[in-house]
């Protein structure tokens, strides 16, 4: 991923900033540019999400993509945040085999991946069991 493409999303990735529609109160993450429910009458504003959520499903990735070689095997999950939106995130700071559906998690700031030996290091969110 090129540097500008990563840099643009830094507030969202580092601080879990999504959007909230002032028309229907729906909270959206990852951020969108139009409310899918209200479309043109929606009004989206930046919204910092609460960092708590629950695991909806998970897997343990044994064959990782490029940039994640050193981390495998790692748990990857779909997390439903308290305010409604779902996101995909790694589950960190635990034995990946102890993760279960329904587990409570909190979102934390971590190093996510790396582009080759000398490339950019990407930071963002992971989830941690609580």
């Amino acid at each position: 991923m090129g540097v500008p493409r990563f840099w643009r999303e830094i507030p969202n990735r580092y601080n879990l900033i999504g959007v909230k529609c002032k028309n229907c109160n729906r909270v959206l993450f990852p951020p969108r540019f139009i409310c899918p429910g209200c479309r043109r009458v929606g009004k989206l504003e930046p919204h910092k999400l609460k960092d708590r959520g629950k695991i909806v499903s998970f897997t343990v990735v044994h064959v990782p993509p490029n940039g994640f070689e050193g981390q495998a095997p790692y748990a990857l999950a779909i997390v439903e945040l308290e305010e409604g939106p779902r996101l995909t995130a790694q589950i960190t700071d635990c034995d990946p085999n102890q993760v279960k559906i329904g587990d409570d998690v909190e979102m934390v700031f971590r190093r996510v991946g790396q582009e080759g030996e000398d490339g950019v290091i990407y930071y963002g969110y992971k989830a941690r069991l609580v």
């Binding site: 990852p30 343990v60 064959v63 990782p64 779909i78 995909t88």
Partner: protein, 387 residues
């Protein structure tokens, strides 16, 4: 709108075809389809080609021009369409629309993917671009990982087991043994699948479809003219396409594909049939769990019972609703852009009674189900014997 029929189909051998090039594959599949249809190439009016990513796989874009040129079909219009692994299904639908609308009479629907000219890890990375790069791939999602998230949730909600998923692989490998074009002619056992290396739990290597080279073509004409060319035209009775969020986390459910449900609803309505009328289906088994979800979403059983009816043999050759008689993506191979057309080739051969040892006796109505990515696009077609 005119009714549309298939009058000829052609397929290359599927597999790791190191000695065959992209251009050679499409010419081979096309020549077989033209011969099967008994037409002359000069009669063809237009062509639609499904291809996911020649740009990444062979570093070549603008393949529409390259294909008609090397097929000797200049200067007819050729259009490439893309929806990841559903590109072939999309090409068939576009060809159908072109004939149905009256704009063109004889149209080729083609699909092709050349996946083994680069290293396997590069191929995997190219395939992963069918997922959301910014919010799935960025955090370490892989394609098997995304389907594994669906599998785990399906197991949680419905009690689906790893053994039932393995049975999909066992069945499809068995069927592929009767298909001369299939990549694998190799039976596998439930044990083999369960003991194969973990890719993304609960999915193991033998739950995943392989990397494959291959091309497929079908020739479409207005149904009223089909009898001039063949005694066994295959009517395309219904077509449906639907979309869903590209990211799995943005979907309403993890245990099925809404795009499939919507696409098949449209296709059944257009064809005037229901799930129980269908005699056999080729469904998108890119992973074993995908077949289990597909047979539920297509209405062949209740939601959650896909694993159970697989275990009971209902989807096997000779069962109530044979699924993936060709071997499916799992056994026949999955050259992504070609898959949607190859599925139609299998159904056409079955409905014509030309499927050899894997023939479903008396098959009248068949269905194809082609999925892009992890379910962002689904395309369904329903076929009837033309008599």
């Amino acid at each position: 709108m005119r009714k549309v029929a298939i009058i000829g189909v052609g397929l290359t051998k599927f597999g790791e075809l190191w000695d065959v090039s992209f251009r050679q594959m499409i010419v081979e599949a096309g020549a077989r389809a033209i011969e099967d249809a008994g037409i002359d190439g000069k009669q063809i009016d237009a062509m639609y080609v499904g291809n996911m990513s020649a740009g990444q796989f062979i570093h070549q874009e603008h393949i529409a021009s390259l294909i008609v040129d090397h097929a000797g079909l200049l200067p007819i219009p050729c259009t490439r369409v893309e929806a990841a692994c559903a590109s072939g299904g999309l090409a068939l639908r576009q060809a159908f629309i072109a004939v149905a609308s009256g704009i063109h009479d004889i149209v080729v629907a083609a699909g092709i993917e050349k996946m083994t000219d680069i290293l396997a890890e590069q191929t995997t990375e190219a395939l992963a671009t069918a997922a959301d790069q910014e919010w799935e791939a960025f955090v370490g999602s892989t394609f098997p990982g995304i389907y594994a998230l669906m599998a785990r949730r399906h197991m949680h909600e419905y009690g689906t087991t790893e053994e039932q998923m393995a049975m999909v692989a066992v069945k499809n490998h068995h069927n592929a043994c009767f298909n001369p074009c299939a990549q694998y002619h190799m039976e596998v056992t439930i044990e083999d699948v369960l003991k194969s290396a973990l890719v993304a739990s609960p999915l193991k290597l033998l739950d995943c479809s392989p990397i494959t080279d291959g091309a497929a073509c079908a020739i479409l004409v207005p149904a009223e003219k089909a009898r001039r060319y063949t005694d066994t035209p295959i009517l395309i009775a219904g077509t449906g396409q639907a979309s869903d969020a590209i990211s799995l986390h943005d979907r309403q459910t993890l245990t099925g594909l809404r795009a499939t449900v919507e696409a098949v609803r449209a296709a059944y309505k257009m064809a005037g049939v229901e799930a129980r009328d269908v005699d056999l289906a080729e469904v998108h088994d890119c992973f074993t769990i995908a077949e289990i979800m597909a047979i539920e979403d297509l209405g062949f059983c209740k939601k959650g019972e896909g694993g159970k009816i697989t275990e009971q043999g209902e989807t096997a050759l000779g069962g109530r609703i044979p699924i993936n008689t060709s071997g499916g993506l799992k056994g026949k191979g999955h050259p992504v852009g070609a898959t949607g057309i190859a599925q139609a080739v299998e159904i056409a051969q079955q409905l014509s009674g030309e499927a050899g040892k894997r023939q479903v006796e008396g098959a009248q109505i068949g269905l194809t189900h082609n999925v892009g990515g992890s379910g962002g696009t689904a395309v369904v077609h329903i076929f009837k014997r033309g008599d």
